[in-house]
Symmetry: C2
Subunit: 356 residues, 2 copies
């Protein structure tokens, strides 16, 4: 296999999931990839998986830093010591901090392209790496202070890995990600911690609402402490605003007009999240179906959907405590909902009234 | 059809989704049900659906109030004027407030059974009613200050409708529901309103985390303003605690130890939500699969699951902005995950590494 890339010898520093996945993909494209890690075991696994020979950093045409935020300074040190003068990129989920670190170093800022691949939520090291991890995913870059060589190398890399480029200045990236990723994480954790130590019979009454809002509270503290603290400048004003809205709510908790406006503003915010595929937010119709909780029920329902060519946009599964029957809610387009409901009812399914 | 119920003539005041659904179910069981509503149109539809003759309130052996919280006082007035002296129950989602209203009235408190059917999230009036709405759902009662006749009538009603009884004092109910239902609603709305007016390209980066945490922010303000204000006494201390945790976070946003502990406490709280079926919280393994976004893909996957008798406990569908490929994550038991992954891979599916 051969592709037209502006580099052929790549060093990847950091042999975790992201670094090793990049290594695997580049190696399959016929490039010479050197995997490094300060942890010898991780480096060994990554080298075994990627399976190419090692070369010196100074011999590389591209260096990719795929280390945790806190280790980026050691990568800079390594590059300075190796007298590397080529293009280098990073893949950290916060962008202003690494940019400042490069500016403060002896490395050429224009040779650096800050990037952030948005490649799913899986955790795990080199063992979990996959060459197709970035397939179809957005990969953010900030090309505003990079030279043409750095930008074209980064874009070529991203497209060779099957991802697509979104070019946003680092500061805007950090603000955007603070809003759509870091703030929800903190709010979900904030809510979930209120549950700790509460009576089990109370928590047994939890429905889909509580489960959904606290799902990401199960995330890894080790990963998040670095991200939050590195992006604290962008997160702080969002939390301040949240706190002030919260305090206004507390003061007006018996004022129905205030509560109604509070919930309404939440509706507006929720509706401003674009639908899937980056298009405008779509209106779905939600079709509730009561199913028996046993293998094959979901398969059978999806079979029925396929038969009438209905595309499931999203779905939720809810279970009653102490019961073996489940409620599944399918999100479909309004027109599909009519067709699907008619079909499912004719097949004897327990379909309830749709809501939009 | 005949069942052994301690009442045969029932008046239901309030012809919305809940009241009409109860009416439909009781009518099918052969009871004489009188549907009422101060809105003539709603009452007309409900009577047409339920299809039984009307009788006077004073002739009823059971009266069910299925009106919004704010209208309960008018139901009390109606009962007093009709010289009704039998058993009556309500179905409001907050319990202390109706109890206090009955205590302040001339009605006999012991004849009243406060209840709360937890019957899904659908909205809509009499038109959306279904006889099986309560099938398999929990239905909370507070029998502590009710006489035996009121309790046995309520329990018989609930079981006849296919629901099951959870007996909790009204004050504990309101505290529990404040925690597992009202607090998540307010937090989700609080988070979602922060999104309003933010750049569209920022919101386009939203992933499953933001979508999940803000899903219930789409709820109806008219419904929630009454619930929140009626249960403000139980909600206020929860919001105070949330606010104080939030302020501590804001003050320590660059302290990695504080953030790590903050996220960890959220993990503990999240883990304390019991798993489905009211059992202990179960550990699932999450299996990510990349699928093409077209009809039939989900059906095909669930077919494969059924073939190897794997039960899907939960699932999430994620889509990349601007792309037509989707990531589906199946939650299954650890042992099922091994079996399922092997099978799917052998069938050519694009299964990624599981995480637990």
């Amino acid at each position: 296999m051969s592709v037209d890339l502006p580099f052929s010898r790549v060093t990847i520093i950091g042999s975790g999931l992201i670094g090793t996945s990049i290594g695997l993909a580049l190696s399959r494209l016929g490039l010479e990839v050197s995997m490094r890690d300060q942890d010898a075991r991780a480096q060994g696994i990554a080298q075994a998986l990627v399976g190419t020979q090692t070369h010196e950093i100074s011999e590389s045409e591209l260096v990719i830093s795929a280390v945790p935020l806190s280790a980026f300074s050691s990568v800079i040190k390594l590059l300075q010591e190796s007298t590397f003068v080529g293009v280098f990129i990073d893949v950290a989920s916060v962008k202003t901090k690494p940019v400042l670190e490069v500016l403060a170093s002896q490395l050429e800022r224009a040779n650096f392209l800050p990037t952030h691949p948005m490649a799913g939520r899986e955790v795990g090291g080199a063992e979990s790496a996959r060459a197709d991890l970035f397939e179809g995913r957005p990969w953010i870059i900030d090309s505003s202070d990079s030279n043409l060589e750095a930008k074209s190398s980064g874009v070529a890399l991203i497209e060779a890995l099957g991802a697509y480029v979104i070019d946003i200045p680092a500061a805007a990236h950090d603000q955007a990600i603070a809003l759509v990723s870091h703030l929800p994480q903190l709010v979900s954790s904030l809510l979930a911690r209120q549950l700790a130590g509460k009576p089990e019979e109370w928590l047994g009454l939890a429905g889909a609402g509580l489960r959904d809002t606290t799902r990401i509270a199960a995330s890894d503290p080790g990963l998040w402490k670095e991200i939050i603290s590195a992006n604290s400048a962008a997160i702080a004003p969002l939390l301040q605003k949240l706190s002030s809205d919260l305090n206004a709510l507390i003061l007006n908790l018996t004022d129905e007009n205030h509560i109604s406006e509070f919930i309404s503003k939440g509706q507006v915010g929720r509706a401003s999240i674009p639908g899937k595929h980056g298009g405008k937010a779509r209106e779905y119709t939600f079709l509730p179906i009561v199913i028996e909780d046993k293998p094959g029920q979901l398969a059978a329902i999806f079979d029925e959907c396929a038969k009438v060519s209905v595309n499931i946009e999203d779905l939720a599964i809810e279970h009653s405590p102490g019961q073996e029957t489940g409620l599944i809610t399918l999100a479909v387009s309004a027109s599909d909902s009519v067709k699907l409901r008619e079909h499912l009812v004719s097949q004897g399914w327990d379909v309830h009234s749709p809501r939009s």
